[in-house]
């Protein structure tokens, strides 16, 4: 599996090169290849593994 690009439902790119995604309640924790984390309030809408795209629904 390749690194993922995380977008909002409106196609806005939130993060690139995401290597790990954790979900903690209403928070989605994105970790990129540099080890930097970004916590997004929202939920996972869709994961396209073939194209390495993850979409989030954010309030």
């Amino acid at each position: 599996m390749c690194l993922a690009t995380v977008k909002k439902s409106d196609e806005t790119v939130l993060c690139k090169n995401i290597s790990r995604i954790d979900v903690d309640g209403t928070k989605v924790i994105l970790k990129d290849i540099m080890g930097e984390e970004r916590i997004i309030e929202g939920k996972i809408l869709m994961v396209d593994l073939a194209n390495s795209i993850v979409k989030l629904e954010c309030p």
């Binding site: 390749c2 690194l3 290597s19 290849i33 540099m34 970004r38």
Partner: protein
């Protein structure tokens, strides 16, 4: 010139005046913390050392698609891709083994040759990674 935005992309209100530091996101996407002061308004020209090797002397002129630290990101990406390719090569080798067991020898052989070419390419990525690291060490 830079505009200070918070995580959601909204203009971040903050007091003007004394020198201060805070984490902020520049409009070009670079996120970092450094000492600076604000004159009236949120826009001003400044210089700083954020660690990005692609900075011009007086601004944030990035030609590449990096997040502000091109060399480190390139090294991380190349390392990841090289290791990831190794995993793919192993999966393809197993695929060739399975095809051979199924009696589809020509396809198995073709995959073996493909894996060999794939690994040659991966060796070039490994060389590129070494060259980038050496280049950074020499700076």
């Amino acid at each position: 010139m830079h505009l200070v935005k918070d995580e959601s992309g909204n203009m971040a209100a903050h007091p003007h005046g004394d020198e201060h530091t805070h984490k902020h996101v520049h409009e070009d996407g670079a996120t970092h913390t450094h000492a600076h002061s604000h004159e009236a308004g949120h826009e001003h020209i400044h210089t700083h050392d954020c660690g990005c090797k692609n900075h011009q002397a007086d601004g944030h002129q990035h030609d590449c698609d990096c997040q502000g630290n091109c060399a480190d990101e390139t090294i991380a990406l190349l390392t990841y891709m090289h290791q990831h390719n190794e995993q793919h090569a192993q999966e393809l080798e197993q695929m060739a083994v399975n095809l051979r067991k199924m009696g589809i020898e020509d396809a198995a052989r073709s995959i073996d040759e493909g894996v060999s070419d794939f690994q040659k390419g991966n060796m070039r990525l490994s060389l590129a990674l070494t060259l980038v690291r050496n280049s950074m060490d020499n700076k």
